[in-house]
Subunit: 348 residues, 2 copies
């Protein structure tokens, strides 16, 4: 029931899911009257869905703490089904904060990790790239960053199908001495970890879209801002291009001639292709679809959840997390937070 | 003597500076033989420049601490001239870390502020935007962020000519409760400060290129990554557009028809227009030109320095900084650093 175009966009998405995954079983949770009417016009979705009524829905602007108290919301009932083992995962286009809070408290964090993280995929010049954390944790210690690397590695294997994803730690420069103690300690821990062979070292902001590595690891504050800054830059360019191609008759004609190629570019950059941020590190799969997406985007978010379940995502990360040093050990190492007064961030 | 195309790009830039600012007086520091030969072929630059020999030059990959020990480098001699009051400011395309370190130690920080910051201008859908800190301080407390806001405000007035620039604090969401203690405390301080009327509150990554505010304030870690992520996104789009317009004969023809409009877009996005990151908060003007720029870009960096000197940038920030509460007071308020476990960063 969540998102700007709910529940229609969700049902449109499920109609596509039914084509792609005819054996999927979907538990559809929400207002049974509205959902029933929509299902009756979508035979594919109707075939794979079973409907469960939820009298309430979490509003988009509700605080996570309030959403936690709402026991009969569609989000809560869907997440309860994951916690009970009845569903392998949940996909929602609703309130992000509420989904994260319910995920952590109801589905619960894996015992091997400190904090779940939000991960998503974006475009680069050399293929898709995984970026995490996107905002689940505004402050992180080195141990958290190492756990994110483990989870990002598994995500790239499972969702992007990469056999040996390379991993970079986001920093203000690529040399070993750059950044604050936190990232330097995380880098040291990664060099000593089971991920050492695939750890590329520090990467910078421009490396994300350059595709320097397959997985970019950072704290939730920086990751959220990097994600949205990149999206904003694409949006500005898109808007300016639109202006270019409507600025004169010749430009309009030029657009028509280049249209097939420009449409391939548009498809490549289509945010719906990258829809589905995943809250990883829980005892179940929790996927957040963008609230403004349509059926195509929502179906993509379901694909991500399906990949994670089919390829035993959680089992993979648990195996790798078990090889890290015990939690407390690494946490102690992060006591000193203050960076040097002269950081020498490289601007080129 | 610094930068990828030095000293030619610098001299090409000064030839343009001579046209735009015929009354400017430039102290040109570096290898007198090489510079003398280049000046002899550039009558404009020769007219406004006086040459001072420096036997050494700071290599691009030298550590700031090593650059500080190099007493006869062109960078050092130029900065010494600022510290001595002989020059009002310095522009360099050389080693960023060395320039920042020399700036802080030789030119020295203004007594009113804790830490200088690196600021620059970028494009947005609604005009140019100031972003700081871009990496001078990888860790910041709330007081530092407030000082950055004061400096960014003055920079927008002086370099962009805005009478009342609006100021935003970069965060993972725009609601008051988002983010960590650090940004929330800085926001509270700004609401109580002389900047209160122009303080817009929190902004998100996509607000930078949307032009939601004129000045975007953040710590040096996040700012450096936001800057480079945005640059990377523009670069990816530029590369993809190039592919589009060379992908077929029709697309090439389309490009030719739309060429005048596309060239206006290219000019608008031209990084040379935004060249000149400024280390603000020192007893003199210190401008860092991009190392890879050409004469057009270098001349722009000189323009930025000129604007700052002409419009008495430092006096403006000192007046406003004097209205902030004393330093110690604000620093104490920032003791609690840890954010809440559930941040509820908004992904839409």
């Amino acid at each position: 029931m969540g998102g700007d175009n709910a529940p229609e966009a969700v049902l449109d998405g499920l109609e596509k899911v039914a084509e792609r995954h005819p054996k999927a079983r979907i538990l559809l949770v929400g207002d049974e009257v509205r959902l029933g009417a929509l299902l009756s016009r979508r035979p594919g979705a109707a075939r794979i869905c079973s409907l469960r009524h939820a009298p309430d829905a979490v509003p988009g602007d509700m605080k996570p703490t309030a959403a936690l108290r709402m026991r009969q919301s569609s989000m809560r009932i869907a997440i309860d089904a994951v916690a009970a083992g009845e569903a392998a995962g949940v996909v929602s286009a609703g309130n992000t904060g509420a989904l994260m809070a319910l995920g952590k408290i109801v589905v619960k964090t894996l015992p091997e990790i400190d904090r779940p993280a939000l991960a998503a995929i974006g475009p680069s010049a050399r293929g898709d790239v995984v970026l995490l954390d996107l905002g689940a944790n505004v402050t992180c210690d080195p141990r958290n960053l190492v756990e994110f690397a483990v989870m990002g590695d598994a995500f790239a294997r499972v969702v992007l199908g990469l056999p040996e994803p390379s991993i970079g730690l986001l920093n203000v420069g690529s040399e070993e001495l750059k950044g604050d103690d936190r990232v330097r300690q995380a880098a040291e821990m990664l060099r000593d970890s089971v991920l050492a062979a695939n750890f590329h070292g520090f990467v910078e902001g421009h490396d994300i879209t350059a595709g320097t590595v397959d997985v970019v690891v950072t704290d939730g504050f920086t990751g959220n801002i990097a994600l949205k800054t990149g999206e904003g830059a694409f949006k500005l360019m898109g808007g300016l291009l639109k202006q270019v191609f409507t600025s004169s008759l010749l430009a309009k004609l030029g657009y028509l001639l280049a249209k097939p190629a420009l449409e391939r570019l548009r498809d490549f950059m289509d945010p719906r292709r990258y829809n589905g941020a995943v809250l990883i590190g829980l005892n179940g799969v929790v996927v957040k679809s963008h609230g403004g997406t349509d059926g195509v985007g929502f179906a993509h978010a379901v694909d991500v959840a399906m990949d994670m379940v089919k390829h035993r995502f959680n089992q993979r990360i648990r195996e790798k997390l078990a090889t890290l040093p015990p939690k407390g050990q690494a946490l102690e190492a992060s006591a000193g937070e203050a960076g040097p007064a002269i950081s020498g961030a490289d601007l080129g």
